[in-house]
Symmetry: C2
Subunit: 194 residues, 2 copies
DNA sequence: CAATACTGTAAGCAATCACTAACAATATAG
DNA sequence: CTATATTGTTAGTGATTGCTTACAGTATTG
């Protein structure tokens, strides 16, 4: 018997560096040579782990949500679930999109006629929306406010708020402080519903 | 004296086709050969009109807002200014991002470390926000509701709403009907303020 | 007319880059 | 030990593509 494959393990190990590269450089300026260099391996190795450059990109997309989810789980550990929404909102008001991964998403969104990329992005967005929705339900469940309208749409509103916050950060359209106020203020609006 | 230059005129003439190409294909898959073909000219001609491919892309970015502004002006012609916000919201609930130009923006957002691209995008976003803000002020000015918080941030909220609507459309995450409800429902929330 | 710059057409080049082939070295299971 | 598949290293290539050069034709002004 030969030695057992460690491919999937190696993939997990390298994905963060791959994601960072795409986040720093976008898709087209992230050459496979650059990826190899950042991963401290030869290009060849990458092609044993992933079919082609696109597959590396998709792995980066998948990693984004996992990375967020891990941060959130850490943050909410031991906290009461009704407080989760407020805690997350306060945290993201200052830290949202600080890792730069949003640029991976933008790069992907300009390639949405590729079915695999679209699928990966769709899955990622649906996960985000589902997570937000869960927090919203727990939050609103506690109080019995006059909640009007579909709560699922409010969750999508949050996704939009996050997106514009990332854009505003990327383009330096608002100061950190103003961007924080944007998140908390519009966030609170969505949290409570009209 | 030689014949007068018609360069700027020709630029105006070709920009819509250029923008359509970038919208259809993204940045990297839009080759200069493809651009030339769609414009029904030789590549060479394009390089007389713009310094390089990036300049063509930036021209496309600039065109996006102009295109929207023209549509809106048409739509609001002869309408009372207090009604503008509602009219626009109702219109965009079904027509937002239908031209596909959003993909130009996403392509640009993944290249934001280029100063010229960032500048073009920042200008475009600021124009959109300023326009929305203007409509919001006219809308809220008419009624004297309990408007809490910074109205400028609400305008950024609208920009976020538009962005998520474009994403949701691109990725087919919601049906047309649901997306319309997203726009109107969250839009109304932002319109009135908490 | 004539000078001058603009417009159109064709061909091609230099550089980048995704991807591969070939081979040596190594670790594991029987 | 040995067979087998994995891992590491080097080099290279075919294709794409942004951009340029060169030249012929044309319209406009003095």
């Amino acid at each position: 018997m030969p030695r057992p494959s460690q491919l999937s393990e190696k993939r997990r190990l390298l994905v963060p560096a791959v994601a960072k590269a795409f986040a720093d450089l976008g898709y087209r300026r992230t050459t496979t040579a650059e990826l190899a260099s950042r991963c401290r391996v030869q290009e060849n190795i990458l092609y044993r782990l992933w079919r082609d450059k696109k597959a590396m990109f998709i792995a980066a997309i998948d990693y984004i949500y996992e990375s967020s989810a891990q941060t959130w789980a850490e943050l909410l550990k031991g906290k009461p679930s009704e407080a989760a929404a407020e805690i997350l909102l306060a945290y993201e008001a200052t830290h949202f999109a600080e890792n730069g991964y949003a640029r991976i998403i933008f790069a992907g969104l300009s390639e949405t006629d590729d079915p695999e990329i679209r699928k990966a992005l769709a899955q990622m967005y649906q996960r985000y929306q589902a997570f937000v929705l869960e927090q919203l339900q727990k939050h609103r469940g506690s109080r019995n406010g006059k909640l009007k309208g579909d709560i699922g749409l409010a969750a999508w509103g949050f996704v939009g708020l996050g997106t514009v916050a990332a854009i505003v950060r990327e383009l330096k359209l608002l100061s950190d402080k103003e961007r924080g106020r944007l998140m908390t203020q519009v966030g609170r609006l969505l949290l409570e519903g009209a």
